[in-house]
């Protein structure tokens, strides 16, 4: 069977179940392609030998009832994996090997998945271009020296380049959807509380969610079905009735009401994105859904709110990296000096910047003016969505205000980098599910995505809309394997 790495997840599962191909053959194919693709720098750590051993074990006694029967999977290096190094893209965790497994990755292995390795990401998931990783830039397979987006940049690059059939990322302000949009792939940020946060290196706990990244909507639905479970070990995990997302996937969206928020027509948005959005609207109408103009009046306040709430939570979460219990330690004259040097040498510039912002907005005398204010505005943003969803089934927006940019282009201007997440951040603040699907190309041939936002716990509905639109759009990624010589 030729070109195994080009097959979709659903197809690979089917072929393994029908014994047309073995887990070992599939695993070997992805390992070989990954080894030829080192130039992309998508991996931080590979676990290929163990993957092959596990694939052989699977083939000796195959359990073909599993949802991911012997499927090799590389995951973002933010998920703790037992006995496999987990760095979160940071120097401070360069030598950290967890003694436990995150719930989401545990779900993958219990469903028959096999770990291929750990994928590059922005340091502690703080970034929109993968350039803050201690382990180097990641190349976007679309074009040389193009960022893959971030923070799940290695994940997006690996899926687009077919180094792994699927992957999981995490999304705090857009870290699944923005890189999916930049690489012509599908990325779902589930409802807050849908996927367990246990064992995921924490960034901003009230916003963080894990989610699937894939080549198409079917694969995304299948993977979401595997990773979304109620978990007692995460106190914010929510016990709601989860669907059989793949089985219940349907292109029939007749009569659905889809909102188009006028506030997302931001100043300076390229015309190609405006046109892409209009095409999306036309596709939705073709599918028999109804399109309604709506207003989400507090949209422009979402990003400033996010840049108070997320750093505040990060400054608290990252207090644990003190050079004592795990990770990197710098020597100091005394205990305090050791802490200060460890954190100064162990964290990169962006992480330090965010810890400082967070510390400042939580500090005595500034808490009310910044942090409390941001929490109040967050309520207004959530109210906007609650109000809109009284008469809607979903909302359609662009995923990002531009296509992928060059490595280095925005690195020195934090605010212009932050603007990348302008369309994705409101969804995290309100705890809603959002999916980015590839919808077209700009004049340079770079992919552009559209985002579908749903009601809380209504992943099935946005997957269905994505599935119907995917067929109408007929997107094809222009990947030439330029990095393989």
């Amino acid at each position: 069977m030729s070109d195994l790495t080009a097959q979709t997840l659903v197809k690979l599962c089917k072929n393994i179940k029908e014994k047309k191909v073995s887990s070992t053959e599939v695993t070997k194919a992805f390992i070989e392609r990954s080894e030829k693709s080192k130039k992309l720098n998508a991996y931080i750590t590979t676990d290929f030998e163990n993957a092959l051993t596990k694939a052989k074990q699977f083939d000796e006694k195959p359990n073909l009832d599993l949802k991911l029967p012997g499927i090799p999977i590389a995951v973002k290096d933010l998920f703790c994996t037992k006995n496999v190094k987990t760095t979160a893209g940071s120097k401070i965790l360069q030598s950290f090997t967890p003694t436990y497994e995150s719930t989401v990755t545990d779900n993958l292995w219990n469903a028959g998945g096999i770990l291929l390795g750990k994928l590059n990401c922005d340091e502690f998931a703080m970034g929109s271009s993968n350039e803050t990783s201690h382990y180097g830039n990641v190349q976007n397979p679309i074009d040389e020296n193009l960022v893959p987006g971030g923070s799940s940049g290695g994940s997006a690059s690996a899926v687009a380049a077919q180094l792994t059939p699927i992957t999981i990322g995490t999304d705090t302000g857009g870290s699944i959807r923005q890189p999916a949009s930049f690489t012509g792939t599908v990325g779902l940020k589930p409802t807050y509380g849908s996927c367990s946060r246990y064992g995921i290196v924490a960034f901003a706990s009230s916003l963080d969610q894990a989610g699937p990244m894939s080549q198409n909507v079917e694969d995304c639905a299948l993977l979401h079905e595997v990773i979304s479970t109620f978990d007692n070990k995460d106190s914010t995990s929510i016990n709601f009735k989860r669907n059989n997302y793949l089985q219940e996937l349907s292109k029939n969206i007749k009569g659905k009401k889809i909102g188009i928020p006028k506030e997302y027509r931001v100043e300076g948005m390229p015309k190609e994105i405006e046109d892409l959005w209009q095409k999306g609207i036309d596709h939705i109408k073709d599918c028999g859904a109804e399109v309604v103009d709506i207003s989400l009046p507090h949209t422009s306040y979402a990003l400033p709110t996010y840049y108070i709430v997320a750093p505040a939570e990060a400054s608290s979460n990252l207090a644990r990296y003190d050079g004592v219990k795990y990770g990197f330690r710098a020597e100091g004259k005394n205990l305090i000096d050791m802490y200060e040097k460890t954190r100064s040498e162990g964290f990169g510039a962006e992480v330090q910047r965010r810890i400082m912002i967070g510390t400042y907005v939580l500090s005595s005398g500034y808490y009310d003016a910044y942090y409390l204010k941001a929490q109040k505005v967050r309520k207004l943003i959530k109210n906007d969505f609650d109000e809109a969803f009284k008469q809607l089934d979903a909302i359609l927006t662009p995923s990002t205000p531009s296509s992928a940019f060059k490595i280095g282009e925005k690195k020195d201007d934090p605010v212009s980098m932050y603007l990348n997440d302008i369309f994705t951040v409101p969804v995290n603040l309100a705890g809603l599910p959002g999916i980015s699907i590839p919808a077209g190309h700009d004049a340079k041939g770079y992919p552009l995505g559209l985002q579908i936002i749903g009601k809380a716990f209504d992943e099935q509905n946005i997957l269905n809309i994505a599935y119907a639109m995917e067929e109408k759009i007929g997107f094809k990624n222009n990947i030439t394997d330029w990095w393989i010589k």
Partner: protein, 95 residues
């Protein structure tokens, strides 16, 4: 409002991140541009708005106070940067 070098020094102390002069100046510049952007929130009146602390509108679950893992001292110590089989080791604190 502007963040001066004195404020940077203060935040760096609270954050337990050492910052030298050149880094402090760069940080002051970055933080000022970020806070200028954040101050947009002051356009909004929020006196009567309840702050949102969690999007999951449920009360936290209670669970039984049971021991779930035993004898994992080795696992806990395993990643410690300064090796010692029984304790975490830090620079001398008491003279």
């Amino acid at each position: 409002m502007t963040i001066d070098l004195k404020t940077i020094k203060h935040i760096s102390k609270l954050s337990r991140i050492s910052v030298d002069e050149s880094k402090a100046e760069k940080l002051a510049g970055d933080l000022n541009s970020i806070f200028k952007f954040i101050e947009k929130l002051n356009e909004l009146k929020t006196d009567n708005v309840e702050p949102l602390t969690s999007v999951a509108e449920t009360t936290l679950r209670l669970r039984g106070d049971e021991v779930k893992s035993e004898n994992i001292k080795e696992e806990i110590i395993k990643n410690s940067p300064k090796e010692n089989k029984d304790f975490f080791v830090v620079p001398k604190v008491v003279e």
